[in-house]
Symmetry: D3
Subunit: 189 residues, 6 copies
Amino acid sequence: MSKPAPKRFQPPAIDRLPEDIRTRILAVQEKSGFVPNVFLTLAYRPDEFRAFFAYHDALMEKDSGLTKAEREMIVVATSAANQCHYCVIAHGAILRIRAKNPQIADQIAVNYRKADITPRQRAMLDFAMKVARHAEAVDEADSAALRAHGFGDDDIWDIAAIAAFFGMSNRLANFASLRPNDEFYALGR
Amino acid sequence: MSKPAPKRFQPPAIDRLPEDIRTRILAVQEKSGFVPNVFLTLAYRPDEFRAFFAYHDALMEKDSGLTKAEREMIVVATSAANQCHYCVIAHGAILRIRAKNPQIADQIAVNYRKADITPRQRAMLDFAMKVARHAEAVDEADSAALRAHGFGDDDIWDIAAIAAFFGMSNRLANFASLRPNDEFYALGR
Amino acid sequence: MSKPAPKRFQPPAIDRLPEDIRTRILAVQEKSGFVPNVFLTLAYRPDEFRAFFAYHDALMEKDSGLTKAEREMIVVATSAANQCHYCVIAHGAILRIRAKNPQIADQIAVNYRKADITPRQRAMLDFAMKVARHAEAVDEADSAALRAHGFGDDDIWDIAAIAAFFGMSNRLANFASLRPNDEFYALGR
Amino acid sequence: MSKPAPKRFQPPAIDRLPEDIRTRILAVQEKSGFVPNVFLTLAYRPDEFRAFFAYHDALMEKDSGLTKAEREMIVVATSAANQCHYCVIAHGAILRIRAKNPQIADQIAVNYRKADITPRQRAMLDFAMKVARHAEAVDEADSAALRAHGFGDDDIWDIAAIAAFFGMSNRLANFASLRPNDEFYALGR
Amino acid sequence: MSKPAPKRFQPPAIDRLPEDIRTRILAVQEKSGFVPNVFLTLAYRPDEFRAFFAYHDALMEKDSGLTKAEREMIVVATSAANQCHYCVIAHGAILRIRAKNPQIADQIAVNYRKADITPRQRAMLDFAMKVARHAEAVDEADSAALRAHGFGDDDIWDIAAIAAFFGMSNRLANFASLRPNDEFYALGR
Amino acid sequence: MSKPAPKRFQPPAIDRLPEDIRTRILAVQEKSGFVPNVFLTLAYRPDEFRAFFAYHDALMEKDSGLTKAEREMIVVATSAANQCHYCVIAHGAILRIRAKNPQIADQIAVNYRKADITPRQRAMLDFAMKVARHAEAVDEADSAALRAHGFGDDDIWDIAAIAAFFGMSNRLANFASLRPNDEFYALGR
């Protein structure tokens, strides 16, 4: 139960990883007190590790019209629809912390339509779920509905891009049987 | 019909793009004779552009146990399932060229089960489609089926990662109404 | 946020409820320290309240070949598939307590195929999910698979009956927008 | 073909059943001329028998803003969606009798959208089907649509509760391969 | 309620129909005592009428390795899956008559897996349903399963062709809101 | 790769076919330069061949309020949804020729919502797709939407009938593993 993923995708020991990857992993350990398993599993593929986190940071860490908590709401809602063990547990923890709300992650993971969110956030998640599940049918009417709640084009891109990025991440984590660290379950409760 | 995507997501003119992005775009133009629209649309977001193509190249350009044609088969099969206009047309062209086969892309896009592929490629696409559509149910039996066709762990990772990456790419392209360049329709026929 | 359900289905004050219902509610409050909202909402319909809890207790409280924790696993897995806010949160808490495991409820709610359960419990949940989602296709092969894990006919009935009962309960709770009490979120973590 | 369900779930002979259950069974035999198989199969589990019929009667026999025929329409429509052999045949017979209409049950079972029902009944069945198939998405707009047809809150609860109760009943009957009595096929035609 | 379909698709009066169509309609009236509504509705389009019944007769009336009752089983099972009011009611009647069994049509319409049919007929309907619902995935393994029950290549073609033909017929009838004649409901019971 | 379908459904040599069928086949060869495989495969069953092409011609060759290109759009869109290798490739070629547009068939096959079509054609395809995928839910509102774009009752019948006919044709072709002739892939590009 302590392994992040099946042995066949285990990376080398941390001191044998490429310098930049080892540095990033040590930095996150320093900040969080533990190394989230996604870092260790993706280190199996250094180039993919670098691209993955560059993409992640471009969407999740920059300034945006969406708060960081709202961005995590998108992650939790779409990851739950995709039944992604790692992403729901790990990003559920981050959402609790960023929203300073111990209940919101569980509410959104089970049924975001019943969660204690604003109508604006509901529209945001309706759109994110459409991108996650029926992107082929997304059209101008979806953008119009978002604009009615004050979202601009950059916000709309952000919502779609986060839903799309975790559409990739959820599939990778499910394929690799990536396990959340034990620490995530209780964080922010 | 000549615009790659809705105007609201148009990037600045090419000479006002960041140096590294302009260089990459000019290189692809030099090599292909045109700039695939995905480059222009993603240039709207330079950091995402960089991460996207770094990820793409890590999966699609490196040496691998899968041929480049096989990797494009995965892209076409899963992008068709996701009804992605850009990816099916553009990567269908690349598949025709890499497989030196003018029919294979259309066959795989319509119904990969009826395409002229080897049993090994069929197993590869069955797995890729499961990652694309039901990743939550992927398990060890899927890997065992692939190993029976000679795929190793790195190959299995590649198949899953390509299906996952285009799971993201298809959603982005559908959201942004990204259009394939006219050139792609006829290439390799 | 403190109301168990929309006002239009609020029952009368507790001291105006029928004697037997008031007694049951006070007993559960005595035992748990709070009154789970399902009691208050169903008290809106006293006859349905009585039948519901009689059925619930017949399945969940009696001696059985399934442990109480296993029965709660069935509730959490099928309620998550049905996206039932109340049932996943409330029975997730009960599962954590009965299994003395703070992680198991979240694991089963997100993707029971990735949860830390025994192969026997996996077979149990596979069957429960089939009853919940495709009962029309249940057949003798399903029972044979369960018998191979040591389940007897009474156990098989119990699994099916619990999945069916919460098939009803999930629909009622979703219809009535039944909210879990705040206490449930943290219990057993 | 004359057995109500697989032998492994057969109850004891009728004279060895608990007093209250035997009494109820004899009463229904007296009234109907035969014992519907659901009574015999559920007698395998006396406590569940008692709760099941108490619940059933609370929903189907009491006074309500819905006629008894309308309540049976809900049963037939949702049981057909759930492909429940016993419930469609048995409640189809009851619907024919209560509606004094030999065609209505078959019409509703095949495609309720094409049945000879009033617009009010159509709205009732649209809602019942949503509870049966997509309860997670039920919201206030559904209630508003029903109110526009004159349904009050108690009626709305009744529709949802009947759809939910037969959501349980259909799953039990499909699991137990419960067979309708031969008598039901021709009743009311 | 006595009209076979919406007025806008009503054909001219019977004595103004083309000679061959009038003759066919009078012949069926002579034989059955009434004119099934499908004849009247399709007469709106004489060329389609001729092709439809020529196709129908080629599949349903000729000698075949399938009995006429078995062919009607295919019609009823697939038409129920397609929720076709006309086809289930009208062909249900024909099935009752051809199988000399008043219950079989209702059983197959509700859930063919629970119907009183032979294992060979079950295999036949499993295949017919796959053609009706997932023809894109039909492969050699399906034919092998049928051969194991003694079906030859011509039988397999017949099963598939009947499922396909009623795939068309069900869609036409649902589109045109084609209603079964009152006579069909009670025939053969 | 040169065989139109599995050997077990091969018709006799062309000079041993019934006179009328041989004549039709020779005529199409004269006109097109090759014999589309659907003619050869259906010749395995002469009566079904005659009915099939009579039906096809009644819908696709006559004068109609829909242009021939529009009718082929319906074929391509619905056949792509049904994943029919033969129909998408062969009718894609016909569509390119009739619309004098080398891109339109690929666009419609991948995602008709993103194709370069008029709003009227979009409404036509939305309706055709509903007939193809959810005919049970077609109702008057669908016709009203079409009338708003200038379609009359005869046009509406045509759209529905073409979608229904290819609903049959796609299932037959998928069952029989009917392969498009090599010529179709490049025609009209």
